[in-house]
Amino acid sequence: MEVHHSTAFRPPVDPTVYASLVSNRYLTSRLIPVIAVAAVALCVALVITVVSVMSGFLDMLKASGRSIVGDVIVSSGIGGMPYTEELLAELRALPEVAGATPLIDTIGLLRMPYPAGPQKETAHVQVWAVDPASLAGVTDFADDLYWRAPKDAAAADAMAPDDPRRALDPTILEDGKRLLQSSTNTPGIALGMHVSVGNARQRDGSYLPRYGWFMPGLEVTLTVVPVSGKGKIAEPREQIFPVVNEVQTGLFEVDRNRVYIPLQEGQRLLRLDEAPLYDLTADPDASGNYPVIGRTPARVTKLLLRAKPGCSADALRDRVQATYDAFADRIEADRSRTASMPRFLQVLTWEQQLRDLIVPVEKEREMMRVLFSLIYLVCAGLILSIFWAIVVEKTRDIGILRSVGASRTGVMWIFLRYGLIIGTLGSALGVLLAWAIVTNVNPIHEAIGSDAPLAIRVTAWCLASACAVGLCVTALRRKFLPTLLWTLGTIVLSAAALGLTLHHGTLIWDPSIYYFTLVPDKVDWWAAGTTAVGGVLFSVIGSAIPAAKAADIDPVEALRYG
């Protein structure tokens, strides 16, 4: 149709200008969009906060896990690997390797020095027989030794008055690093921080000896069971060790179970040390000994390796596997060797090794993300219902807009734009709120864990009283809505004031459960971004249905009955 343009005097352009004007006015002239923005902001903030804390926890767990086992772990059977000094020399020469250390991993029983009297408690433990010097180059073993003298006076002042570390001698740390009691030149043992029940963790993450059982300097008896390469159990062997220090890795399972002894002691106790090789087919000599035909090499059951910066754990694992295979081939081809390298062994990255620990937390985080994302549906439903009510209320406006030439698409865009603005504003505020909460989570947690300050309690009671006065005034005026609102305010504020008065601190993030002193306080920006986009998307989806309804409204009906 050739329509006569009686308005040809003006340049035609942007048809969305009126939609912007109308939707902006709908936004700014009423309270309900503020409620919708607040709802979206709370949903977004909740998801970001939960996922950020979970991600931070996972990152801390991973960082802690890697600091315990290095990047790559080579594990043989219980019979161990021979010639590991030669193998380690080759591995240390690799350009990808920053450090490598041997160890024996077994289980044992530890008789504790407590309680007083002849009956002592016994704990089952994981025994790591280690070379402490090279272990410190692969893991954070040296840094994880808990008992150490304060570096300086300022560090001492920062400790609690009854903290035993204030009075410690610097030798305790050196003894721990060497697993040697220097005063007696006796091989020592380092216990995981929670192997002994004598260590009571405080809220600030420090430890106080419980019932006076300060472990360093006390003696424990370790019993292990040697197992032959054929799997036969020999007579259990035991040794008394002085406790030289205790180790806090941050992983509860490790700190509760693991003890560290020197490698040579472990090899000797488990009969994995170097020993003469007898010819049992020959006749014994006069004293009943068989002739010695060589020596069996000492063995270890694990090698831990640390990658150089820039080399991934996966790349190092592949390189170590190839090096080990070539080494094993050479040993097998060498007729002079009295032992062969085990062919069935595991070469794993630290993530593979600790997957039992990491994967559940990862799954838990994803589950939380999915569960909390269901809040989006609530958000979309809320916006849908608010917008539906607005469309019904604004039916006549829609008729007016259609009468002046607004298209159905234009009318729809008014409400979609409305939803888009609410979603964008709500998401932006939600990200800000989450940032404020997450970055201040520890002070907030600290505040929750402490008694409410007197000023806050008094303020809460004053506000509750003010609401009660408002309630009385409006009740006398017989106004229902103000009376209801003042009643709700009085109830909520009275409950808050009562709660603050009775509250004596709630510890949510208990370090004795999570084993990290601080709550993770880094915002997961990837999660924040995706959550914010989700908030906008679901707001638009929530507004799309009322927007489509608005577009379908018959303008004649709207003008006549709207």
Partner: protein, 234 residues
């Protein structure tokens, strides 16, 4: 072409359906509106006046195959919705009995609304804003530009509605009982305003049930039982 009606309704039927029940509101209306005339359509309540107005203004369509509305000789009822949107925006100006202003917009914004729908930006918007201010000034509302409709009297609201209807300089003004909600003196003022615009060449189609109001028009027709009653056409 000189005799071509500006608006031409030919044998227009309109039936509203309420479930199985059909109410035939218009039963073959024929009507020609010539450029520059002021036509009053008289009729009692329920005679189909407003329905005819909606059809003429492209807000609604006649029953399928039951008549046609032409604008400048072109059929509009068969056009797609987007063409009807443009038609309502650029060629028609509506004035309603109950003003129908958007309560959230002020006087100036309400007046500008059709121009914004048309799409006026930058220098175009400045020009149209000046037009709107001039119109409102001419209607005695120059001091009310930023007021909301709720702050205006009935007569002022109707003047804003007329300014809105005229802002895009339409070919035809369709007024549905423009004085129906006003007292006699205010209504007379509104009719004076329409008369002034008519003198300047504006084509007006006005629906009313009031003979005195209709008398201000240059021509009258009556709708009776959904049909034009030619006996009173003047």
């Amino acid at each position: 072409m000189a005799d071509l009606p500006l608006l031409d309704a030919r044998d227009v039927h309109k039936t509203y359906r309420f479930g199985a029940l059909g109410v035939e509101v218009l039963r073959g209306v024929n009507l020609a509106v010539r450029s520059g005339e002021w036509l009053a359509i008289l009729g009692s309540s329920g005679s189909g006046k407003s329905t005819l107005m909606h059809l003429l203004g492209g807000l609604d369509r006649p029953d399928a195959g039951q008549g046609e509305i032409h604008f400048r000789g072109e059929p509009i009822s068969l056009q797609p919705g987007s063409a009807l949107d443009r038609y309502r925006n650029r060629d028609i100006g509506f004035v309603f009995q109950f003003y129908h202003l958007l309560p959230e917009l002020n006087v100036l914004e309400n007046t500008l609304l059709p121009a914004l729908v048309f799409g006026a930006r930058s220098e175009g918007r400045t020009a149209v804003r000046q037009d709107a201010e001039a119109l409102l000034g001419a209607f005695g509302l120059g001091h009310r530009l930023t007021h909301r409709p709720s702050q205006l009297s009935g007569g002022e609201r109707q003047r804003v509605a007329i300014a809105r209807a005229l802002i895009n300089r339409p070919a035809v003004l369709l007024a549905d009982e423009p004085t129906g909600n006003l007292d006699a003196a205010t209504g007379a003022g509104i009719l004076d305003l329409l008369a002034e615009r008519h003198k300047q060449g504006l084509t007006i189609v006005m629906v009313t049930h009031d003979h005195e109001v209709a008398a201000r028009a240059t021509r009258q027709i009556r709708l009776l039982n959904g049909m034009t009653d030619r006996s009173i056409a003047t």
